[in-house]
Symmetry: C2
Subunit: 138 residues, 2 copies
């Protein structure tokens, strides 16, 4: 080791092994390979081994966030692909804008769902604490 210190690495040149990414995001190798099968990741190959670049790493993050939001992998694919779409022709751009409108509507619906649920949880919580008090002051 050594000499890691102060060595000016060309911006964004770092790469990762599949195991490193898996550890970082706490998923299995199987999961990562599965995402590749579904076209969500396209790591470089050095021989047969997969080499992940910053772009892949970012995409994995986006995929997992999409999962937390309850989107299917297909939906996630369309969302993530929007992020690094080429400028392209007008039809493409209009389509993209339309997709954005759709996804935004979904997300806002979800946020409303979340807010309502949080409200109701707070109510249950108040009930609970009230019940606890009557139990203890008896």
């Amino acid at each position: 080791m050594g000499y890691v210190h102060n060595v000016p690495v060309p911006l964004d040149s770092h790469t990762w092994s599949i195991a490193e990414l898996a550890a970082e995001y706490d998923v299995t190798l199987r999961t990562i390979r599965f995402y590749e099968d579904r076209g969500l990741l396209t790591p470089e190959r050095r021989g047969t081994v997969r080499v992940y670049h910053p772009r892949d790493r970012v995409r994995l993050g986006l995929i997992l966030r999409g999962k937390r939001l309850g989107f299917s992998l297909d939906e996630i694919a369309t969302i993530v692909d929007m992020y690094d779409a080429e400028p392209g022709e007008e039809g493409q751009l209009v389509y993209l804008l339309d997709q954005i409108t759709t996804r935004r509507a979904e997300l806002e619906q979800r946020r409303q769902d979340i807010d309502e649920t949080l409200e109701e949880l707070a109510e249950v919580e108040r009930r609970c604490e009230a019940d606890l008090n009557t139990l203890r002051t008896r």
Copy 2:
């Protein structure tokens, strides 16, 4: 028909058939029966037919909201059951409060995910519109 007007129906006495609920929430009969199989709904039976009370209707709404949020049916079950839990003993109440804390954390994580995604969508949108402009003013 007729006489529906101004007839004081005993509060919450209305019931629904499975088809009515399915139509209202835009799900299939199969789905509703499946939720019953999983213990999420427990409609009354008149003979063999299911009769749904306001409580069941509310629960169905909660279940579907849970689904939109990406929770599994198992998770939804624990959440929904919290809503009409009996006061119960102290251990129960403490457990409930703990559950609430857990769920709240998840929901807040999700809301943050949503906000980040909305942010990024807005960015993509700006890029798109800029690209459209350069296309048209050329």
